[in-house]
C-alpha cells in the first residue's frame, strides 16, 4: 500500500507551492520511490503531472528540461547529449524509466545515480520554486544540501551541451547499478569528472586526484577501500577514453 493519505493534482506552480507548505505534504513526481516506500507514516501527495513541467527547450546554449521529463523521454530525445541518454537508459529498467523523472532523480540524490553524475559533468543547474519565488542553484550544491528545502519544488534542470564524454563503471553484472562509476566530460580543454558510489551523493572530483577528500561508506557490494581503488581505476579509464575520443 502506498503512503498516500491525501492526493492533490495542482494545475499551477503557485497552487503546488501552497500545498507543499502544508505539514506532511510532499511532491509526487513519477512515484517510483515515493510509492514504493514502505514507511507507514502517511503523507499528502502533491502530484506534479498537471504543471506542464515536461518541456525540453534549448536556450542560451543550454538545454532546459522540465522537472517532469521522464528518463524514458530523455533516452528517446535526440536533442539530449548522448551521455545523458545513455545514463537514462542505465539508471532504471524499462518499466520504471517511463515513470521516473529528472526532477525526482535530483530530489532523491541517490549516491549511485549515474544520471546525476552525467548531469553534474554537464554543469546542471536546478530550478526551484518556493514560497519566496523561483531560484536556481548548481546541482552540486543541491545534492550537497540533500535536495531542495521542504516546501520547495524542483521545476527544471538545465544543462550545458557539447564536449566529449565517457563513462566507466564496475558492477556485479553488466546492468547492475555500478558500485563505483566515473563520468568524464571534456569541453574547451577543461575536464570534469563525477563519481558515484564514493560519497553520500554523486560528486564532482578533480581529474588529477579523484579520491582526494573522499570518505566512502562501504557495504556488501564494496568496502570503503575497494571503492577508493575503483574510483582511481574508473577515473583513469574514463580520462583515457576521452583521450581516445578527441
Amino acid at each position: 500500500m502506498s503512503r498516500a493519505h491525501n492526493y492533490h493534482r495542482p494545475t499551477t506552480i503557485d497552487e503546488a507551492v501552497s500545498l507543499l507548505a502544508i505539514d506532511g505534504h510532499v511532491p509526487l513526481a513519477g512515484g517510483t520511490l515515493l510509492n514504493a516506500d514502505d514507511d507507514p507514516t502517511p503523507v499528502g501527495m502533491v502530484d506534479l503531472q498537471a504543471l506542464e513541467l515536461t518541456r525540453v527547450e534549448a536556450a542560451d546554449g543550454r538545454i532546459v528540461l522540465g522537472a517532469m521529463v521522464t528518463l524514458h523521454d530523455l533516452k528517446c530525445d535526440e536533442r539530449i547529449p548522448t551521455a545523458l541518454r545513455d545514463a537514462a537508459r542505465t539508471e532504471l529498467p524499462s518499466t520504471l524509466r517511463t515513470l521516473a523523472t529528472i526532477g525526482g532523480t535530483v530530489a532523491a540524490g541517490n549516491p549511485d545515480s549515474v544520471m546525476l553524475a552525467a548531469l553534474l559533468v554537464h554543469e546542471a543547474e536546478v530550478g526551484v520554486v518556493g514560497p519566496d519565488g523561483p531560484s536556481s542553484a548548481p546541482l552540486a550544491n543541491v545534492l550537497a544540501d540533500r535536495g531542495p528545502c521542504h516546501g520547495h519544488l524542483i521545476t527544471s534542470v538545465s544543462l550545458a551541451f557539447g564536449g566529449t564524454t565517457a563513462r566507466e563503471a564496475v558492477g556485479r553484472t553488466p546492468s547492475d547499478t555500478p558500485i563505483v562509476s566515473a563520468t568524464a566530460r571534456r569541453v574547451d580543454g577543461t575536464t570534469t569528472v563525477a563519481l558515484t558510489g564514493v560519497a553520500p551523493t554523486p560528486v564532482l572530483v578533480g581529474p588529477d586526484d579523484p579520491t582526494s577528500g573522499l570518505d566512502p561508506i562501504g557495504d556488501f557490494r564494496g568496502s570503503a577501500d575497494y571503492r577508493l581503488h575503483l574510483a582511481s581505476v574508473v577515473t583513469g579509464r574514463a580520462l583515457s577514453a576521452l583521450e581516445g575520443a578527441s
Binding site: L28, H72, S94, V170, R172, Y226
Partner: protein
C-alpha cells in the same frame, strides 16, 4: 475518491481509496493479467501500458492514472483466437509459468508500435524491467522477433529444434577440430542430437505448444490470487525483529480493537503441535522442531502472530498494534561457530526430539563409507585437500507464496495455494488445524514459479487457522521482503574434499566433509545435505569413498529446498577440486575427469548409502549401475560450440587491445539424479469422452515447467491421438490421484510412467472394443493411430465411434484406466557445462560472455520445454555463482531484501546461451526420458570458477564471484 480513465479503450470511472495503487484498482476490476511481484515496481509483473508506455502499475497511484489511457493484456482478448504477439509467445515456449507474460506482451506491443523491426538490444532493453527466473529471456526474445515478423506480414518457419549429426559414436571421445564451425542458429533454438536407438514418434519428441499456453498468453484467471471469493479477508504476519528471542508476553487487545480486524492468532490462542515444514514423504524426517506459533523466535522474520482483516492495509496496521515483549537472546549465524561450546542453544525445548547434539546445535550427523578411505589416502601417490564455502541465496519466484483458505459448505477446509506439494500439504496441515485428512482439500492452480521454495508447507496453516477463526475465506500473500527472509533459501555449507590420486591420474580415495547450515529449523536440512553427499561422491569411480556431515542449527533465515537440492553446492566444490587436481598433475582438465567419470555399466558404489532413501549400514548385494550416458557427445558438442581450443591460446586470453582483460573458458562435468528411488510416486487416471478425447488427471504439480504438457504428450503418444485430444487437470487432492509432488527432477520420469501405465490400460480396452466393432478376434493386432483403431486388414473405427458405442449403445461402460509408478532406479542425466568469461584484473569485475550446456536427458519428450528448463536453470545457476547473495547484518537482519540490492540477472545483460539436447534411450524411463529440471543448476558455478582460473590463474573457494572478492583473490595471489 473518483478516478476516471480509459481502460482498454473504454472510458471508465472508479471509486478508489487515496492510497490505492493502479495495480490494486486493476486487479479489483478483474484485470488479473496484471500480477503482484512486489510493491516497488522492480519485478515488472504488474507492468501495463499507460498512454502506450510500459510502466509498473504497483508504483503508480490509481489517482495518478486519472485522465490517462491504461491498457492491459485483456485488451487483446476481443476474439477467441490469439493476437499474433500472443501466438508468437505460445509457439516459441516463451513462458513457463507465464506469471509475467502479460507485461512482456504489452511491452512487445509498445515496442513494435515504435519500431516494427527492433534489434536485439532494443528487445532486451524493453524486457529489462520484467524479471524472469524461468526462461532466461532466451525464448521471449525469440517470441518478440517472431511477433515482429508476423506483424510485418512475413512468413515464419515452424519453431523447431535444429537437428545435428552426432560427433561421436555415443561412447568414445573424439578430437574436436578447431576449424570445425559451430552450428549456427538463434540461441532459443535447441540443438538436438538424435540417437539411432530412439524411434520416430507421433507426439513424443515434438515441439508441441504448452497445453496451458492459451490461458497464460491471454492472462486468464489461472493463479491463486486470480479467483475471487465473496467476503475474502486478508492476512498479514507479524514477524520477529530479533534473530533469537523468547516471547515473554503478547498483548493483542489494541489490534483486535481496530475496526476491520477479524482475528489475531499467536502462541496464546493456537495449539502447540510440533511439525517439520519440509514438503516430504511420510514420515517427515525428524526433528519436528516447529509449531504454528511458538513462544520462541529463532530468526529475524520468524512468525510471531497473524491477523485477518478486511484489507491488507488494516491487517498491516493491526500487526503494528500488537505489543510483544521479547527477552532477546544471543544469536549465531555461522555453521562452524554454531557448534562451539559457547554458542547459544537454538532448540532447548524438550518437546523437540531427534536432535543429535542439542547443546552444540548439531541436528544430524551423517556418515557413510565404502572401502577404507584413510588407508587409501595414505597410500596414494598424491594427496589433495581443499575447503570451499557456499553462501545463502533465495529462489525468487516472481509469484510470492500465496494461499487462500476457506471452509466449504460441508465445512471442510479448502486451501487454494501456490504449492509444489499439494498432497504432502494436506497430510501435514491436518494435525495443525485439528482436522482429518479427509476433511481437507488442497487445490493447486497455476504457480508463478517455485524452484523448491514451494516444496514446503510454509503458510497454509496460517491461512487455515484464520479461516477457522473467522469463518471467512482468508488470503495470505507474502511480500517480496518476506519472500526473501521469511520463506526458504539455499543451505550455506562449508565443504572439504580430500582426494588421493595415483600418478597415472586414477582416483583411489575421496572423502567429503560437509557442515551444512540449516538455520533455525530442520525442514529439508537432513535430506539436502545427504543429497550433497550423493552428488559430490557419485560422478567419479573410486573404490574408497566417505561422506561425513553435520547439519547445524543457526539463526539465519530458514534454508529449505531449492532446485538442485544440495547438488549445486556439492558440484561447485567437486568440480573446482577436480580442476585443481588436474592442473596440479599437469593433466588436461577434461581428460583427467574422463579417466575417472562413470560410464555405462559402472557401479554407483556409494549412491544407495546416500540420498533420501539411504541405507546406512552394511554393504548391499547389488549396486545400481549407469544405464545410459551421453557425456562424450555432450563434451564434443560443447567443445565445438565454445571453441574450447582458445583456452590455450595466449593471444586470445590476453587481448592486446584491452590490457586489463583476461579471457578464460571453464568446464564442469555434471551428473544428477532422476527422482528419489523407492520413494517418489505419482498416479494418473484417464477416461474416454464421447468425442474420442480423454481427460487425464494427475497429481503431479506443473509449476511452470511444462510438466502438464509433457505428461499429456505421453498419454497422446500411447493413445494415438494428437495432444489437443488430451485434457489434463492437475492437481486437486479431492479429484486427482496422489503424487508426491514437483521436486527431485521426478515428474517426467515418475508421473510420466504413471501416465504411460494408465494410458496402456485405456489402450488395451480401446483395442478390445475396436475388435468388437470390427469383428476381429485378436485385439492385440489393432493399432491406435490418428484418432482411429486400425485392424491389420486396413479397416478402422474412430475413437469417437468406440466412445459412443461404449458410453451409449452396447454393453455400456466407462473406458478408463489408472496407473501409478514408483521406481527403484534413479537414472542419471549427464551434462557438460561450459562458461566463457572476461576478468578485469584491475577491478575484479567478472563478465560472463557465454554459457553452453549440452545435456543428456534421455529422450526429451518436448525439446522446447526441455531446453527452456536448461536455459532457466542456467540463469539461476549463474546468479548463484556470480551475483546473488543474502546479506545479513550482525543482528541477523537481511540488508538487501529487494531486487537490485539482491541482484538477479535481467534481460539486457544476459550472456549468450546455447542448449544442446543429446538424446540417449533410458530403458527405465517413459519413451526413454530422464530428468532435465535440476542438472542445469549444477555446473555453472564451477565452470565459471574454472574459467576464472583459466583466465587469471587465481583459484577462488567461495561464492559468489562479486568484484571485490575476485579483486582480493587476484591481489592475494
Amino acid at each position: 475518491m473518483k478516478v476516471s480513465l480509459r481502460l482498454n479503450g473504454v472510458a471508465r470511472r472508479f471509486e478508489c481509496d487515496v492510497h490505492d495503487t493502479l495495480l490494486t484498482l486493476l486487479r479489483r476490476e478483474g484485470m488479473v493479467s496484471v500480477r503482484f511481484g512486489s510493491t516497488s515496481g522492480e519485478t515488472g509483473a504488474a507492468a501495463v501500458l499507460i498512454d502506450g508506455r510500459l510502466a509498473s502499475s504497483d508504483v503508480v497511484l490509481a489517482a495518478q492514472a486519472d485522465g490517462h489511457e491504461v491498457t492491459t493484456l485483456e485488451s487483446l482478448n476481443t476474439a477467441r483466437g490469439l493476437h499474433p504477439v500472443q501466438e508468437a509467445f505460445a509457439t516459441t515456449g516463451a513462458m513457463q509459468s507465464g506469471y509475467s507474460v502479460g507485461a512482456m506482451i504489452l511491452g512487445t506491443l509498445a515496442l513494435l508500435e515504435q519500431d516494427p523491426d527492433p534489434d536485439e538490444d532494443d528487445i532486451r532493453d524493453m524486457l529489462s524491467g520484467i524479471l524472469d527466473r524461468e526462461t532466461a529471456y532466451v525464448k521471449p526474445v525469440a517470441a518478440i522477433r517472431r511477433a515482429a515478423a508476423l506483424l510485418r506480414g512475413e512468413e515464419v518457419e515452424p519453431f523447431a529444434p535444429l537437428v545435428l549429426d552426432p560427433m561421436t559414436d555415443g561412447r568414445n571421445a573424439v578430437e574436436v577440430d578447431p576449424e570445425d564451425p559451430a552450428p549456427d542458429a538463434p540461441p532459443a533454438v535447441p540443438r538436438l542430437i538424435p540417437s539411432p536407438d530412439v524411434p520416430e514418434m507421433a507426439v513424443v519428441g515434438h515441439p508441441e505448444v504448452k497445453v496451458d499456453a492459451l490461458r497464460l498468453v491471454k492472462g486468464n484467471p489461472a493463479f491463486t490470487a486470480d479467483f475471487e471469493m465473496r467476503g475474502l479477508l486478508h492476512a498479514k504476519v507479524l514477524r520477529s525483529p530479533h534473530a533469537h528471542a523468547r516471547i515473554v508476553a503478547i498483548d493483542d487487545s489494541a489490534a483486535l480493537a481496530l475496526p476491520g480486524v477479524h482475528a489475531v492468532i499467536h502462541n496464546g490462542n493456537t495449539a502447540r503441535v510440533k511439525y517439520a515444514s519440509g514438503g516430504q514423504s511420510y514420515p517427515n524426517p525428524k526433528p519436528h522442531d516447529q509449531v504454528s506459533f511458538d513462544d520462541m523466535v529463532r530468526h529475524v522474520g520468524d512468525r510471531v502472530a497473524a491477523v485477518a482483516a478486511d484489507t491488507p492495509e488494516i491487517a498491516d496496521a493491526a500487526c503494528r498494534l500488537i505489543e510483544v515483549t521479547y527477552e532477546v537472546l544471543p544469536a549465531v549465524f555461522d555453521e562452524l561457530e554454531a557448534r562451539l561450546d559457547d554458542a547459544p542453544v537454538i532448540h532447548a525445548e524438550e518437546d523437540t526430539v531427534g536432535i543429535a547434539d542439542r547443546e552444540h546445535n548439531i541436528v544430524h550427523r551423517i556418515h557413510s563409507e565404502r572401502g577404507n578411505v584413510e588407508a587409501a589416502l595414505a597410500s596414494a601417490d598424491h594427496f589433495y585437500e581443499q575447503t570451499f564455502r557456499v553462501h545463502q541465496v533465495q529462489q525468487c519466484p516472481i509469484e510470492p507464496h500465496i494461499s487462500v483458505a476457506w471452509l466449504d459448505s460441508d465445512e471442510r477446509m479448502v486451501v487454494r495455494t501456490a504449492t509444489q506439494v499439494p498432497f504432502h500439504t494436506r497430510r501435514m496441515l491436518a494435525p495443525l488445524i485439528d482436522m482429518r485428512i479427509k476433511d481437507i482439500r488442497i487445490i493447486k492452480p497455476r504457480i508463478g514459479g517455485g524452484f523448491g521454495a514451494k516444496q514446503e508447507m510454509l503458510i497454509e496453516d496460517i491461512a487455515a487457522h484464520l479461516a477457522i477463526a473467522t469463518h471467512r475465506p482468508v488470503q495470505l500473500e507474502l511480500t517480496r521482503e518476506e519472500e526473501f527472509f521469511a520463506s526458504r533459501t539455499r543451505h550455506p555449507q562449508t565443504i572439504t574434499f580430500r582426494t588421493g590420486v595415483n600418478a597415472d591420474g586414477t582416483l583411489v580415495a575421496q572423502d567429503m566433509t560437509v557442515v551444512g547450515n540449516t538455520g533455525p529449523y530442520g525442514s529439508h536440512g537432513f535430506t539436502v545435505q545427504i543429497v550433497t553427499g550423493l552428488r559430490g561422491l557419485t560422478s567419479y569411480n573410486c573404490d574408497n569413498k566417505a561422506f561425513n556431515c553435520e547439519v547445524v542449527y543457526s539463526n539465519i533465515p530458514v534454508p529449505g529446498a531449492y532446485r538442485g537440492y544440495g547438488a549445486p553446492q556439492a558440484l561447485f566444490a567437486l568440480e573446482s577440486h577436480m580442476e585443481d587436481i588436474a592442473d596440479n598433475l599437469r593433466m588436461d582438465p577434461i581428460g583427467f575427469r574422463r579417466q575417472n567419470w562413470v560410464r555405462v555399466g559402472d557401479e554407483l558404489n556409494i549412491a544407495p548409502h546416500l540420498g533420501e532413501t539411504a541405507v546406512f549400514e552394511g554393504e548391499l548385494d547389488e549396486y545400481p549401475v549407469v544405464g545410459s550416458n551421453g557425456i562424450e557427445e555432450c563434451v564434443a558438442q560443447g567443445m565445438r560450440a565454445v571453441s574450447w581450443h582458445r583456452r590455450n591460446d595466449p593471444e586470445w586470453r590476453e587481448p592486446a587491445d584491452r590490457p586489463h582483460i583476461r579471457r578464460g573458458l571453464g568446464f564442469a562435468f555434471c551428473m544428477h539424479g532422476t527422482a528419489i528411488p523407492f520413494l517418489d510416486m505419482g498416479g494418473a487416471s484417464i477416461k474416454l469422452n464421447d468425442d474420442g478425447s480423454f481427460n487425464l488427471l494427475v497429481g503431479a504439480t506443473d509449476l511452470g515447467t511444462g510438466a502438464d504438457t509433457v505428461l499429456a504428450q505421453i498419454a497422446a503418444e500411447v493413445l494415438g491421438v494428437p495432444l489437443s485430444d488430451i485434457v489434463i487437470y492437475s492437481s486437486d487432492t479431492d479429484v486427482t490421484p496422489f503424487d508426491t509432488g514437483a521436486y527431485a527432477s521426478s515428474t517426467t520420469y515418475i508421473s510420466g510412467t504413471a501416465v504411460q501405465k494408465a494410458a496402456d490400460v485405456v489402450r488395451k480396452r480401446l483395442k478390445e472394443r475396436a475388435a468388437m466393432l470390427l469383428g476381429i478376434d485378436v485385439p492385440c493386432s489393432i493399432v491406435l493411430q490418428n484418432r482411429r483403431a486400425w485392424a491389420p486388414d486396413g479397416r478402422s473405427v474412430t475413437l469417437e465411434e468406440i466412445a459412443l458405442d461404449s458410453l451409449h449403445l452396447n454393453e455400456q461402460e466407462q473406458i478408463m484406466g489408472t496407473g501409478s509408478h514408483m521406481s527403484p532406479d534413479c537414472p542419471a542425466p549427464f551434462a557438460a557445462q561450459f562458461v566463457e568469461v572476461e576478468v578485469d584484473i584491475e577491478t575484479g569485475q567478472v563478465t560472463v560472455v557465454s554459457m553452453v550446456m549440452a545435456v543428456d536427458c534421455g529422450v526429451a519428450i518436448n525439446p522446447i520445454t526441455a531446453s527452456g528448463q536448461v536455459e532457466g536453470g542456467m540463469l539461476q545457476a549463474l546468479g548463484y555463482a556470480h551475483c546473488e547473495e543474502i546479506v545479513l547484518d550482525d543482528k541477523g537482519t537481511m540488508v538487501n531484501p529487494s531486487f537490485g540490492p539482491y541482484r538477479i540477472y535481467t534481460a539486457d545483460e544476459m550472456p549468450h546461451t546455447e542448449v544442446f539436447l543429446i538424446q540417449t534411450l533410458e530403458e527405465s524411463g517413459p519413451f526413454g526420458a530422464k530428468a532435465v529440471a535440476e542438472i542445469p543448476k549444477d555446473g555453472v558455478a564451477p565452470a565459471l570458477r574454472n574459467a576464472i582460473v583459466n583466465a587469471t590463474g587465481v583459484r577462488i573457494y567461495d561464492l559468489p564471484f562479486t568484484p571485490e572478492r575476485v579483486y582480493r583473490a587476484l591481489n592475494d595471489a
